[in-house]
Symmetry: C2
Subunit: 137 residues, 2 copies
DNA sequence: GTTGTTGCAAAGAATTTGCAACATA
DNA sequence: TATGTTGCAAATTCTTTGCAACAAC
């Protein structure tokens, strides 16, 4: 894996490149599904990585704040997933928790239009589609 | 207020029309902002309504399941709001928590299209816009 | 009368915080 | 070396459950 790039990205975000953070990022890399802090901690521990639950919480929060992770909500629990750096929307499989990123100019246009019509200053938006993916059907 | 209609609606949903449920529905009626179970409980108590926190939790959950309430997420906390019975989307003010319902045929079309393209069977979707309303700006 | 509902107290689960030891830059 | 980070244990906060009294139908 590309440790150098990751290192760099972390420092650019004002975060030190600690073993724990690199481990978390590495574990998240290439995974299509969103995971909770608890799940991630358990998996890392089982994989022999020494890392505290507190650290996992702090790490995913910091990474999400820095824009590395998308945050989803699974029955009131936060689930995280590595995300692209350009704005996008999601197609979430409710069976396997896999998330596909989908760009959506249509939605952006709709957002601007509606906000304008109602006199809102937009701070953000989300448009997610939930369903069952072809593999799970 | 229209107690008869409310009574009827509850029974149609298979729920008994108890004083507590009517109180919660009445309190929610006409409120533009989403409230958490804790907030609702506190407010009702302060208004002199005898109702337990447990009951408020059970009530909003039941009402949401029955489709009377929309559920929002405020930092991992669930917030509820009375909602219309046809599908719609939301324009949420992050300052005063006010929620405006907005119908959106454009979004429905987009959802169907994307899901189809990816081989998903749609089970749901949400498209919410966050911002600062004109009054709060 | 039967069955669903309430509410308290207690349990449970997710997440945060204090703080001393430690690692990174 | 200076400062950000870690991790444990404890504390917080949101939410759910057990169960006996109670209210709706």
């Amino acid at each position: 894996m590309d440790t150098t790039t990751t290192d760099r990205a972390l420092r650019d975000a004002g975060l030190r490149a600690t073993r724990q953070r690199l481990t978390v990022l590495d574990s998240l890399r290439g995974r299509p599904e969103a995971v909770t802090a608890q799940e991630l901690h358990m998996q890392l521990r089982q994989a022999g990585e020494p890392i505290g639950l507190t650290t996992v919480y702090r790490t995913v929060t910091a990474l999400a704040d820095a824009g590395f992770l998308d945050v989803f909500n699974r029955d009131g629990e936060q689930a995280f997933r590595l995300c692209g750096d350009v704005h996008h929307h999601h197609l979430v499989c409710e069976t396997c928790n896999t998330v596909e990123e989908i760009p959506a100019a249509e939605v952006e246009r709709w957002v601007a239009q509606v906000a304008d019509r109602h006199g809102y200053e937009v701070t953000g938006h989300r448009a997610d589609i939930f369903g069952i993916c072809s593999r799970c059907r």
